[in-house]
Amino acid sequence: MLENHAKLMQFFSSSEAIVGRKRLQKMIYILKKCEVPFEERYQFHFYGPYSEELTLRIEEMCNLGFISETKEEKKNYYQYRYQVTDAGREFMEHYEESLPPLNAHIDAMNEKSSRFLELVSTMLFFEHLPKDEISEKVFSVKSTQNYTDEDIKDGWNFIESLRKFH
């Protein structure tokens, strides 16, 4: 029961807080692409890979009181902060950790901007294509983000470093 929720709880427990829904979406997608067995299904959206299933599951976990969601007002938008609660920690006691340790991945991703995570997740979405086609595709679908060849190179280095963690 709720095995997929438990996996996400392990993710949240591996960090003090996750700030930003966009960041959260991209982090789970990147982890999936690093062979971490999250089951949430993703589709490509305006801002890159996005999972409605993940959004719903997070809402459920908030409603169950397993994680807290704090809405913070920014200049032109709202931003959300997620943290594990006591009830969440108690829930996790009923489950064995089914994922590998995620702290190193999460720390590395938390150091990057959400713009960069959007780039990395988009590159991974097209990973089945040859490398030069991936760059072409990223420039085409992300034309407004003005990514450069240097950004793409940084993206590949970042992906490689993440995949070395396990």
């Binding site: 029961m1 709720l2 929720h5 930003g20 829904r21 966009k22 979406q25 299904r41 589709q43 490509f44 959206h45 305006f46 801002y47 996005y50 409605e52 299933e53 959004t55 719903l56 599951r57 809402e59 459920e60 908030c62 409603n63 169950l64 009181g65 397993f66 920014k74 032109n76 938008y77 709202y78 931003q79 959300y80 009830a87 829930f91 009923h94 959400s114 959007e118 979405f125 097209f126 595709k137 085409s140 679908v141 034309s143 407004t144």
Partner: protein, 431 residues
């Protein structure tokens, strides 16, 4: 004349209960409708197991796909000569609208979960693989199939084109809300689509709606909200989905344990193995799946035969509301009690969560999360819908999720009234 410009000598019309008529003039569209891959959609229900709750909900993905095509055809016609709209993209939009659901399999939601498949991958495979659909698309030009696949995959360079088929106010949703309302017979799901189409405007990378059309959009959002809770999240449909997915799990488990089926499940073998080819995938539709469920009612495995009988004869599980936070201890006790009573809890004690369902609500979201609906103000500024509409603001901020516990009530009722196990199960379930 180039194939892409060829027109039928006489317009073809399909009578449709939602849009009255569906008009086809392009030879390409007519040819696509005639392909076996598109005709197969007649044998895939739009709402899966929902017909066990709303008996009218027997409509197919074929009906819906034609409906989405018709809405996009009308939008494209309205956009003619407007800024940001390239008429050369018209045929691409129509083809993508028509073919957007091509990869759906039988009862796709449960099938995809159990067999870890994604219909979107099969849509891409049908568009780009060795199929009749691909043959037709390739006749248009060598890049056309890829472009259609990119639009449906939402990775096409022109985001405006993508947003017609897939956004928070797209042709797909506008068709299915009205069509599902019509066929289920509920009184929700209706909104003034004609008005919305009239006030839609193409922008550089998205479709927006003139502010004067805000109330029509509010109506659409309310319809969507009501349909989710009254139809899509209906607890009885969820019970049927639970049983269906348990049938598939059981059949797969038996196959993996070298169980000898009385009827060799030929059409399912590649699904059990986890690698169906495109032709194997296309070879299994709902009529065939239902045939197997009927045959499996005769199997010696009691769990498989019972679950199939429940599905075919609509003996569904009953449900109670369940809170996984406060009732975790009860659930663990129930699990043991079911085992003691000889009921395999992996098949007969099932928690179903609203996040297991594939439908989504309108969410303004956070910046950069998912593109919201934008209203176009008279000064050409764009504003997110819920910032201007109090109605939308009031429902889009609310989070409604639920969890239900499904059990075979008939089996529990038939247990001896002297059984302590039964007594305790009933105490936990009903207090």
């Amino acid at each position: 004349m180039a194939y892409r410009d060829e027109q039928l000598s006489e317009e073809k019309v399909f009578k449709d209960p939602v849009h009255r008529y569906i008009h086809v003039r392009d030879q390409v569209i007519w040819d696509l409708i005639g392909t076996p891959e598109f005709q197969r959609l007649r044998r895939i229900r739009q709402l899966g197991t929902c017909y066990l709750t709303f008996h009218g909900a027997e409509h197919s993905r074929f009906n819906h796909s034609l409906g989405v095509y018709e809405i996009v055809r009308r939008i494209a016609s309205n956009f003619t000569d407007r800024p940001n709209w390239d008429p050369k993209e018209r045929l691409l939009c129509l083809a993508a609208a028509l073919l957007h659901d091509l990869g759906h399999g039988p009862f796709s939601h449960s099938f995809e979960k159990v067999f870890k498949l994604d219909h979107e991958d099969f849509t891409q495979a049908i568009l780009l693989g060795d199929t009749k659909v691909n043959e037709v698309l390739n006749k248009v030009d060598k890049n056309f199939a890829k472009d259609v696949a990119d639009v449906i995959n939402k990775t096409y360079k022109n985001k405006l084109v993508v947003s017609l088929i897939s956004s928070q106010i797209d042709a797909d949703r506008m068709d299915y809300l009205q069509r599902d309302a019509y066929f289920t017979g509920v009184s929700y799901g209706h909104f003034d689509m004609e008005r919305i189409l009239r006030v839609m405007r193409p922008m550089e990378d998205q479709v927006v709606v003139k502010e004067s059309g805000m109330h029509a959009v509010e109506d659409y959002i309310m319809s969507r909200y009501q349909m989710y809770w009254q139809v899509y999240f209906h607890p009885v449909t969820r019970s049927a989905e639970v049983i269906l997915s348990k049938i598939l799990h059981r059949a797969k488990e038996l196959y993996e344990k070298d169980y000898t089926f009385k009827l060799e499940p030929t059409h399912f073998l590649s699904f059990f193995k986890g690698e169906p080819t495109l032709s194997e995938y296309l070879g299994l539709d709902e009529s065939i799946a239902l045939y197997y469920f009927q045959m499996w009612m005769q199997e010696d495995d009691e769990i498989l035969s019972d679950l199939c009988d429940r599905f075919v004869n609509r003996r569904l599980f009953k449900y109670i509301e369940f809170n996984p936070n406060s009732q975790m201890a009860e659930w663990m006790e129930l699990y043991k009690l079911f085992q003691k009573a000889g009921l395999n809890p992996d098949y007969y004690l099932v928690v179903d969560s609203s996040s297991d369902l594939p439908y989504d609500f309108y969410r303004p979201g956070e910046e950069g999360e998912r593109l919201p609906i934008h209203l176009l103000l008279p000064n050409q500024e764009l504003k997110e819908l819920s910032r201007l509409s109090e109605i939308v603001e009031s429902i889009s901020g609310k989070k409604r999720t639920d969890h239900k516990l499904y059990v075979p009530q008939d089996v529990l009722d038939n247990m001896s009234s002297r059984s302590k196990t039964k007594k305790r199960i009933m105490e936990i379930l009903y207090g």
